[in-house]
Symmetry: C2
DNA sequence: GTGAAAGCGCTAACAC
DNA sequence: GTGTTAGCGCTTTCAC
């Protein structure tokens, strides 16, 4: 039989009210009864029923994480770190795959609000604008991770894509490359920012941007990237280095080069973005730009917990800085 | 302001009980009032408060998934498929990383029972025997996935590791290999089963098992496997084919071979297990044994939902059959 | 300092 | 067929 607050009260010879006060550290209770009650709680291993207290308007200590696809290594990592830090703070996290489908997004949000989750972390993609706006209007605790809505008053944690694009390109420039291509994901803020960083780096180096070398792709798969990269490599304008705006795109590019018999890094340097595990198992190992995923997950959870607990209405935008990870796929320009 | 069942009752001119009955499809209600109430619910977009009904002993429609590490691609896939099917059945899933730590396992289970989850799916590793036994004794709904406890009365969904080991080995045999090594994970049932399948296949082919070719490893990382594989390849007994009992181990083996200048698949065939995404990005692409992860996740969720809803005490052990996926890392024995 | 009473939103017996 | 009553386990006035 499950213990209730009344059982503890009876055992301690006090009322349930008093026990409740002790548990929640409220009101004035004498040290003596307080200690006694605490001891009994300990002894009986009493655990308050979260449901009942939530019904009275308290927290459920449960948050929801919405991600497009749990099997994608990047999202899986967010999940991992958010959950781990949430655990420390006493939050459980329910995971929701949206598949990028606005209907599913709405369904999840409705259902989980019904279940009284304390807040949401939304990762990378969220298409259902009305639902998002409503949530924000109601001041429901939300944090975006790796997703920006500059026009909406909502807290977020992102990697600095502009800077990431800049340092990736700068790295290639420092190796002597001048003709540098880029393959980016279409219609995403992060993709656009990375391109901007790329252009800025070229500009700073006094190189005019050649739009023929800027490729965008709306199907960010290895295969899709391979096709596009092949086109680029086969054009008259073959670059000596390519910046793939995520590791998937970079790996597709590697496959394309290999297929054409172009040596990496002798004839073509390639750099990716995200620094996923894949970088280490391709050949040659892929240089990449690392965003501090661990830190991002933690900060997002932290931010959300603050909004939930303190009800402080503060919304922050945190941008974390990327780092260059140099491996074997980038090398000095090989002048013939 | 949140709507309650009373608001609906008032609107319909009936009692809350009647509304409750309509929602839960219980008792006898006239078609007329039923329709009226349904319509009002629809119109007002009324959503019953899950907390309140759970407090009365009903389901929370929330289950928990315990996995060692959400960032591991295999577990991430379980998660994905469990969540997706759970969604269809109306269950939310809360994700818990245990990191293989018995204390964390216990902590999660206690906390989540406090939050009244309806059941648990436990994946791959669970070390806290007492907690597991207690859960089973209490008839708390649990399903194990990719984890066996033959001695415990608990439902489970696993891939058939024995058969998997058998067909991987058989594939190598069919290519003419006779000296076949195996690298397996130590102290896991799945590892042991895969080794058994391997031995059986050799036996059936009339080949005596050479224990020098059977390597076990307790740190299943690429690096760890690389070291062990190097030892094996450098021994006088160099095999012409190696079965890595998961893709990580197989990839470690690939790296070892490359490091030693041994050509794959000309001089050494390698096959993995699990058919992860990594198979397609290594070079040459890795042949592997695919377990139907998608199906496993779905079945586990299905099983659990049945136990939760029907309270039928039936426990099943489901074993799903693996399939061979041939890529470029395995080839006919190259006789010199 | 402490407790009695009311009620969060829902469901289950039982009466009518 | 439908409503009344009681209560799940907790928290919160407010009185003592």
């Amino acid at each position: 039989m499950k213990l209730t607050i009344h059982d503890i009260a009876k055992e301690a010879g006090v009322s349930a009210t008093t026990v409740s006060k002790v548990i929640n550290n409220k009101g004035r209770i004498s040290e003596k009864t307080k200690n006694k009650i605490m001891q009994i709680i300990e002894e009986f291993q009493y655990q308050p029923n979260v449901l009942a207290s939530a019904l009275k308007g308290k927290s459920t200590y449960t948050i929801a994480l919405l991600i497009p696809d749990a099997a994608n290594p990047i999202y899986a990592q967010y999940l991992k770190h958010i959950e781990e830090y949430g655990q420390e703070l006493g939050f459980s996290v329910v995971m929701c795959s949206t598949g990028g489908d606005p209907k599913k997004e709405a369904k999840h949000i409705t259902l989980l609000r019904q279940k009284h989750v304390d807040g949401f972390i939304i990762a990378s993609i969220f298409k259902n604008e009305p639902v998002l706006k409503q949530l924000i209007e109601e001041e429901f605790p939300i944090v975006l991770i790796s997703l920006q809505r500059p026009e909406l008053p909502v807290g977020s944690v992102t990697g600095d894509d502009y800077l990431g694009g800049y340092i990736a390109t700068e790295h290639l420039l420092s190796l002597g490359h001048r003709k540098i291509g880029i393959i980016a994901e279409e219609a995403t803020i992060s993709g656009t920012e990375r391109i901007k960083g790329y252009k800025k780096a070229l500009e700073n180096a006094g190189i005019k941007v050649d739009e023929n070398l800027v490729i965008t792709i709306n199907e960010p798969t290895i295969e899709g990237a391979e096709v596009k990269a092949k086109e680029l490599l086969n054009s008259g304008q073959r670059p000596t280095a390519i910046f793939g705006c995520n590791d998937i795109l970079a790996i597709g590019t590697m496959l394309a080069a290999k297929g054409l018999g172009i040596g990496i890094p002798d004839e073509l340097s390639i750099i990716g973005f995200d620094n996923t595990v894949m970088c280490k198992i391709v050949e040659p190992q892929l240089s990449s730009v690392a965003i501090p995923i661990h830190e991002m997950g933690k900060q997002a959870m932290e931010l959300l917990a603050q909004r939930i607990q303190k009800k402080d209405n503060m919304k922050q935008r945190i941008s974390l800085l990327p780092e260059l990870v140099i491996r074997q796929s980038t090398a000095e320009l090989n002048e013939k």
